[in-house]
Symmetry: C2
Subunit: 428 residues, 2 copies
């Protein structure tokens, strides 16, 4: 039935029936048994192992015969089998005869940790291969499709391409732009406050939003916060409240250009050791070059502890005044040492605050996606918000004009408990 009932006031409560349909942004409807339908199954399958395949793309594959899935697969943990291999290996010789294979990403053609997948398609009698997106890796891109065609297999490319690329965006951005994906995340009141103006920390958003945050962190290779947030909130920055087989804690990165962290009181050191710097979790402290040169620091016990602990890297900020501030931060993280420290390339960073650091990334338009939680109340505060007066004094902020402002593009709105989650990207 077309009437969608929600509890609520008059129009709102029944908006979807009464308001002219063409004015609402609707989600697409996919017809059963269409190529989009089966590709959606493959995309769904591709998420089965979460981000365990990182930095490899998590690909999904379904094999369809007579409008039924006869086998399916998802890329295994990094170094493990690719989706096509998983899907095909449970089938007997001849089982692929006459099938259509749906795979979210173009099959690979090069020998990496696994032999090339495209060879799995040879002489199996497959009727058609439907591919979500070409591989952005220049070694593969187009070659997989070319080789399939040379095998005499019909190929269709680009089905649910946007959705596939969205799911694999850290991989695509790394391949195409040679940098990690940058996501900004915050929770705010309706008037843009992160907290009230009193001392002490209190949650803005509800329990559902916080749970979602933990779930979100698993996707990212690293979380970045400013040293101010670190010393105010002592956040754990780990993944809690979520249980699944592919749970993982991201690398923690602290942006601390002036080495404030080395000036901590002993009490602060104790709390940090207990919470954010828990034993065994890897951390990077991004500091200015000057800090390391300072003789005074070298005798500081706490500094020596952080410097000599194998769970820490004190990474110098690669200062270059010609570059944007936030580019300097990102560039400082692009190095072999950090990739080795993480055990794989750093493909995505979730920046969680505080408001000053987030304002800077927003101001310099240095982000790929925003995760914004809006809690439905007003705080009316001045201190803890994006683009506050204080921040406008500190960063090169041009006072905005509605006609010139950069609008973001909303890609998702979702209710989490009594909060709203918006996901936004830059308007193209």
């Amino acid at each position: 039935m077309s009437l969608s009932l929600k509890p609520g006031f008059s129009f709102g409560g029944v908006l979807q029936k009464l308001y002219p349909e063409e004015n609402l942004t609707r989600q697409e409807i996919i017809l059963e048994n269409s190529d989009e339908y089966w590709m959606a199954q493959a995309l769904s399958k591709s998420m089965e192992n979460g981000c365990a395949a990182n930095p490899n793309p998590s690909v999904g594959c379904v094999v369809v015969l007579n409008n039924k899935i006869i086998s399916s697969g998802c890329t295994e943990r990094w170094g493990g089998k690719h989706a096509e291999r998983v899907a095909f290996e449970s089938l007997k010789v001849g089982d692929l005869e006459g099938t259509t294979v749906y795979v979210t990403l173009e099959p690979c053609t090069h020998v990496g940790k696994q032999p090339p997948c495209v060879e799995l398609f040879r002489n199996r009698g497959i009727s058609k291969v439907v591919i979500g997106s070409e591989d952005p890796n220049p070694i593969v891109s187009g070659n997989g499709i070319q080789q399939l065609k040379e095998m005499g297999i019909e190929c269709k490319v680009g089905v649910l391409k946007t959705e596939v690329q969205a799911w694999l965006s850290p991989f695509f951005i790394q391949q195409r732009n040679h940098r990690p994906l940058i996501a900004l995340k915050w929770a705010q009141s309706l008037d843009g406050c992160f907290a009230d103006d009193h001392d002490g920390w209190q949650w803005i958003s509800g329990i559902h939003s916080r749970k979602y945050t933990h779930w979100l962190r698993q996707k990212y290779d690293a979380i970045l916060i400013g040293v101010g947030t670190l010393l105010n909130d002592f956040p754990s920055l780990d993944v809690r409240e979520i249980q699944n087989q592919y749970k993982r804690d991201p690398l923690k990165i602290i942006y601390d250009p002036f080495g404030k962290i080395f000036q901590c009181t002993e009490q602060e050191q104790a709390i940090l050791t207990e919470k954010t710097f828990k034993l065994g979790t890897k951390q990077i402290i991004l500091i200015g070059t000057q800090v390391l040169l300072d003789e005074k620091e070298k005798n500081n016990k706490w500094f020596q502890f952080l410097k000599n602990n194998e769970n820490f890297i004190l990474q110098k900020i690669n200062d270059n005044s010609e570059n944007k501030m936030t580019n300097i931060i990102v560039e400082s993280l692009k190095c072999k040492e950090i990739d080795e420290f993480l055990g794989r390339p750093l493909q995505s960073i979730l920046i969680e605050g505080g408001p000053r650091l987030l304002s800077l990334f927003l101001q310099e338009k240095n982000y790929d996606v925003l995760h914004v939680f809006i809690a439905p109340f007003f705080l009316g505060g001045e201190k803890n918000k994006l683009f506050s007066k204080k921040q406008r004094a500190l960063i090169p902020y041009i006072f905005r004009d509605v006609s010139k402002v950069e609008r973001m593009k909303i890609v998702v709105q979702e209710r989490l408990g009594n909060d709203i989650l918006l996901e936004m990207v830059q308007e193209n």
Copy 2:
């Protein structure tokens, strides 16, 4: 299929598949041919004539036999037939035999502009009557159901009660609370700005949100704005861009306690006459008692024009320092003169701004519903926002604490173009 595809980034793009279902706020699914299903059809039918029945409730009725609707009706324009009469009159004697009748509101038992509907149900062989909500009118409430039972008809009451009451909320609030429904409406940036800090007016929200606003205005009996907004924006406050048979313009109310409007320049007077005060549309100017006593004003030509024009009422604000400021405003509008001026009881008011007036209503918790449009960008301004520094100085505003703040309850989130519409009510 369960995978809901939206273009977007990784989690967001496929949130509904991957994120644990139980954490998302889902809309209810209604089973086909259930009582809820047919009541939803009746509710849908009840909206057919828009708000033409005001101040009567717009009721819907469907008659079901063997899982098919054999007749249906919606309340006609005020004074016209009620929904049950419309639904039944197209049926022949005996056609109602064995049917189930779904009606959103309890059938009436009193003679008003129409004979009592409950009598239409007598001796027609109806098997069952399903009622959305009891009538809040004490003359009717429960009596209709009682009389149906005495006729030997099975009754079921309360099916989709929340949705029915939401659609009829102005009627319910008037019956139960003897006051009009108060709605606040505004469009804001992500950081709560209504406009930038430059002079001149520019739209914050996109074309879809504005279109929705026009559509929304039809529901309300009156729009209220402050004199500051009037003289800044010269808004038309009418219903444009929407075509349908029940289009109607709301009454315009200007809140102007100090009679600023009488001090307009001739140029401002000309623009007002052209735009907001267009000939033939009814207006109320809410002014302080002191203003009318001021001898100076009485010789003012513009004042005399407004005072003697039959399209205007200069309504004195019923000042009472013991009451809340916003209650004084609402109380001043509850009088016979205004009901007569409008031609029916004033059942609902949409307050459209500016930020100072809206802050006051929010601060004093004097609202039933909020319609908030959020445009996805930041302005970083100081002047045009709710609870700005200036407003906090003017109104008795206690600085907020997250733990004590009043959270609103979100009842609707909807995407309109590239804006988000939130509809919120007070948390009970």
